[in-house]
């Protein structure tokens, strides 16, 4: 049933897959990935593929077309389009339970929200979904990617502990991945993330440990030079935060000492430069002119690179730098710039810092205003953080719930599978047992048949033996008769004739006449013996004798009168044993039936030969039966089967209370 259903669906889809629409879908898809076209043209083709796929109404085809379309949207930075298509796929995949597509689409949707930075909780939601499904599908690489993103989101939302947890989970999963450049980079990201988190939480030893790990990972990479430098920078940052300015500076300077650092990553160069200068300032360096130059260079580089974050960093550092020298005018202008920048890019941490600076630098109410704003912002941030963390916890909880549910369903499924397997095995066993039993039954039946057949065969053999010994006996008798009777009498006649040979007279003539007539008598006797020899008294009667024996025995037991007639025209020696055995059985079966059911007094059995057919007729004067109505008993079935085996026919003629006649016709010479 299930098989037929599946087959039906398949053939149905296959028919559709042969349609011209599907051909055009394939064509459009091909064009959409062809490099002959511009991206815009490719987008157009992909759109067409989607339209035709929608016409086909086959979800799997549509999903694939959508995925292609989504990818091209991404190339074209059409993130909204990308989101829309992925959302469609997400819904579609859910209806047809296509887990892989659900995982991919939710990963993409997570990425969209992640990138947008607006609804990080949505990103977190989709990532969690994608992660959970990937977990079921054992997609380790995808899981690691997702976890990296999740941990980043958590980090962004200041859920450092959660971020670290996700990162550690990802690191564990990464063990399953091939040790290639991509994996190393992922691991670097993860170690770095943990290091950053630890730095923020001021767990410096741990921070150093993880940054070192990240550094080691970067070293394993072919193109890991810049990552190494980042790690070094991060380590220096840790030392700086820790207050170990000497070590921090050492590292910073070694990074700055790298040739071509500026060419490699000017933004990073600016960052390091700023860090060196600020660290030196923190360390109490009084070479203000040089430091100022360094800050200025960092500021210019950031400015020219249009790198607002870096620029913000530098301006804040500059503000602090001037403030430290009591150059309040300058400090204020940089603090104001940083406030503006931070607001522009909504970098809350640094915004808070700039507000703090401003509140300190601005006198009177204006300063207090900034302080108030600072407090308000940090309060709202705190509330937001808490809210987000709660949200994350809830999503995680829901996913856990789903996980549990899934586990329950899986367990249920497992039980189903196990119980249906047990059922199947049991039914197979039962089937085998029944089949075996039937086979045994058939075998036993065959054995019984064999035994009875053997019995008849033996009967015939012993009959043959009897005939043989009777023949031998007869031979002996004739021999004795010839020897003792004929020979002696011939001798007597000859001898007497011989003795009267020479005698003459009336008496002698009379004597001789007597011996001559004696010779005549002997002649007759010899003729008789010759006749005896010629007619084989036992020939042809053997099988009939067996049947006669059977009939006599059965009718005696059943207390029936019987008449048995048979023709001499059938030479039973020409009839096969199989036929004889079956005839014997049929007769036996019939007699049994008559005894069991007919309540007959007499039975007439006859064998005739008509048109090369052996005709066996069994007539009883019992109660009879309706051959058309009555359910056929085993006896009648057996008789039918046996006749069929001999290519013969059976006719049952019967009426209620009118006795039964069974007519069996079997080919004589087969």
């Amino acid at each position: 049933m299930l098989l037929i259903l599946i087959f039906g669906i398949r053939s149905y889809s296959q028919n559709k897959l042969k349609s011209s629409e599907y051909d055009s879908v394939l064509k459009f898809r091909k064009n959409s990935t062809s490099e002959k076209f511009t991206l815009e043209q490719q987008l157009e083709q992909a759109k067409n593929a989607v339209i035709y796929s929608e016409k086909l109404k086959i979800d799997s085809v549509l999903i694939k077309s959508n995925a292609i379309y989504g990818a091209i949207c991404l190339y074209l930075d059409d993130f909204e389009g990308f989101k829309g298509v992925n959302f469609k796929n997400y819904k579609l995949a859910k209806t047809i339970n296509d887990s892989l597509t659900i995982a991919m689409a939710s990963h993409n949707l997570g990425w969209y929200h992640h990138r947008n930075r607006v609804h990080l909780d949505s990103a977190y939601y989709y990532y969690s979904k994608a992660y959970q499904i990937s977990d079921h599908l054992d997609l380790f690489s995808r899981q690691v990617d997702i976890l990296i993103n999740i941990s980043e989101i958590q980090n962004l939302e200041k859920d450092y502990i959660g971020s670290e947890e996700s990162a550690i989970k990802a690191i564990k999963l990464a063990e399953h991945l091939p040790r290639d450049e991509y994996t190393f980079e992922s691991l670097w990201l993860l170690y770095n993330r943990i290091g950053d988190g630890a730095t923020t939480l001021k767990i410096f030893d741990k921070a150093i440990e993880y940054h070192e790990k990240a550094y080691a990972m970067a070293k394993k990479m072919k193109d890991g030079q810049i990552l190494q430098l980042y790690s070094e920078n991060n380590m220096a940052h840790v030392y700086k935060e820790k207050g170990d300015y000497e070590r921090a500076l050492k590292i910073y300077e070694s990074i700055l000492g790298q040739k071509k650092l500026f060419d490699l990553d000017p933004s990073f160069y600016a960052l390091v430069l700023d860090n060196v200068a600020f660290t030196k300032f923190l360390a109490g360096s009084t070479d203000y002119e040089r430091l100022e130059n360094m800050f200025k260079r960092a500021y210019h580089v950031s400015d020219s690179l249009n790198d607002p974050i870096n620029k913000l960093n530098v301006t804040i550092d500059l503000a602090k730098f001037y403030k430290g020298q009591d150059k309040n005018e300058l400090a204020l202008s940089y603090a104001e710039e940083s406030y503006r920048l931070a607001k522009e890019i909504s970098f809350n941490d640094l915004l808070l810092e700039s507000m703090m600076l401003l509140s300190e630098l601005k006198p009177g109410d204006e300063g207090r205003g900034y302080l108030k704003k600072h407090i308000q912002l940090s309060d709202s941030l705190l509330a937001h953080e808490r809210g987000i963390r709660n949200k994350f916890a809830r999503i995680a909880f829901e996913t856990d719930q789903m996980e549990l549910e899934n586990e329950r369903i899986a367990a249920e499924k497992m039980y189903w599978v196990i119980s249906s397997m047990v059922l199947m095995v049991t039914s197979i066993l039962i089937y085998i047992i029944i089949a075996q039993r039937n086979k045994n039954k058939a075998l036993r039946f065959a054995q019984v048949q064999q035994a009875t057949n053997e019995e008849i065969y033996n009967l015939m053999l012993s009959q043959q033996e009897k005939i043989d010994s009777a023949r031998a006996e007869e031979k002996k008798r004739i021999s004795r008769e010839l020897h003792d009777g004929i020979l002696t009498r011939i001798f007597g006649a000859r001898f007497s004739l011989d003795s009267y040979n020479l005698s003459e007279g009336e008496e002698a003539v009379q004597r001789r006449a007597k011996y001559i007539s004696e010779l005549k008598i002997i002649e007759d006797d010899i003729r008789d013996i010759s006749h005896d020899l010629n007619t084989d008294f036992v020939a042809d009667s053997s099988f009939m004798d067996i049947l006669k024996g059977l009939i006599e025995k059965q009718t005696k037991v059943y207390q029936l009168q019987y008449q048995f007639e048979y023709t001499d025209h059938i030479d039973w020696d020409l009839v096969s044993n199989k036929t004889k055995i079956n005839i014997y059985r049929m007769l036996q079966e019939s007699l049994q039936n008559i005894y069991k059911h007919a309540r007959a007094k007499t039975v007439k059995i006859s064998f005739r030969l008509k048109k090369s057919l052996i005709c066996l007729k069994i007539i009883d004067d019992g109660v009879g039966f309706d051959p058309n109505k009555s359910k056929k008993g085993i006896g009648i079935k057996n008789i039918n089967a046996r006749a069929k085996e001999l290519n013969g026919t059976v006719v049952f003629v019967s009426q209620m209370n009118q006795g039964t006649t069974i007519k069996v016709k079997i080919p004589y010479k087969t």
Binding site: K475, F491, G492, F495, D498, S499, Y500, Y515
Partner: protein, 222 residues
């Protein structure tokens, strides 16, 4: 005048008639024959017993196959001959039989050692007349078939004892080896052993009973 007392025993009256006629017509002038006849063992026994008391027979002619005595003790002419040897040792015994197989001939000679041994199939009335005179004067007289058998078995180096002769005889009669035991008071294994010996003796190579019988017949043992 020579008075000769004679007993003729044969179950066929016609044969007795023939014997009587031959003897009476061929006797010498000076011979007077007193002939008694019997058709079965019982009457023969009666005659013999009476004669033994009164006047013993000079000559007894016995057929071999005869209706046995009513007490079942005597079954054939052989038995009558042996009885005669006991009760009238002087009587000369002549066996007249249809049996012409070597085995029977040998066993009769061995058991009775008759003064005359005539095979009916050889016999003519003149031979009987000749034999009669010969036996009266200088027995024994054996008919030519008997003589041939005796010559043959003497001529061949092969010695076959009575039991083996009987085995050969029975086999030649078509008795099967399995039923030999009913005729010979021997175990099956010893019968088989004897058969093996016989086959060796007559150098029967194919091991068949037919070949054995054929060879034995050629050598005159059958």
């Amino acid at each position: 005048m020579q008075h000769i007392h004679i007993l003729l025993v044969d179950d066929h009256p016609i044969i007795i008639e023939g014997y009587e006629n031959t003897l009476l017509t061929s006797k010498k002038e000076n011979q007077i024959l007193h002939i008694h006849t019997a058709n079965d063992c019982d009457s023969a026994i009666e005659l013999l017993r009476r004669a033994a008391k009164e006047k013993p027979y000079d000559l007894c002619f016995f057929d071999i196959s005869l209706p046995g005595s009513s007490d079942g003790k005597l079954t054939s002419g052989e038995d009558l001959a042996q009885l005669t040897r006991q009760i009238m040792p002087k009587a000369k015994i002549v066996i007249l039989t249809m049996f012409n197989e070597s085995f029977r001939v040998h066993s009769i000679i061995k058991q009775i050692n008759p003064d005359g041994f005539l095979i009916k199939s050889d016999l003519t009335s003149s031979e009987l007349a000749e034999a009669f005179q010969y036996i009266l004067k200088s027995p024994p007289y054996y008919s030519s078939t008997v003589n041939n058998f005796l010559k043959k078995s003497v001529a061949s180096d092969i010695y076959v004892d009575d039991i083996n002769r009987k085995i050969l005889h029975l086999l030649s009669q078509g008795v099967r080896t399995i039923t030999l035991r009913e005729h010979i008071n021997l175990s099956m294994s010893s019968i088989e052993k004897r058969k093996k010996q016989l086959k060796l003796l007559f150098s029967v190579e194919d091991g068949k009973d037919e070949t054995l019988i054929e060879k034995a017949r050629n050598f005159g043992f059958l």
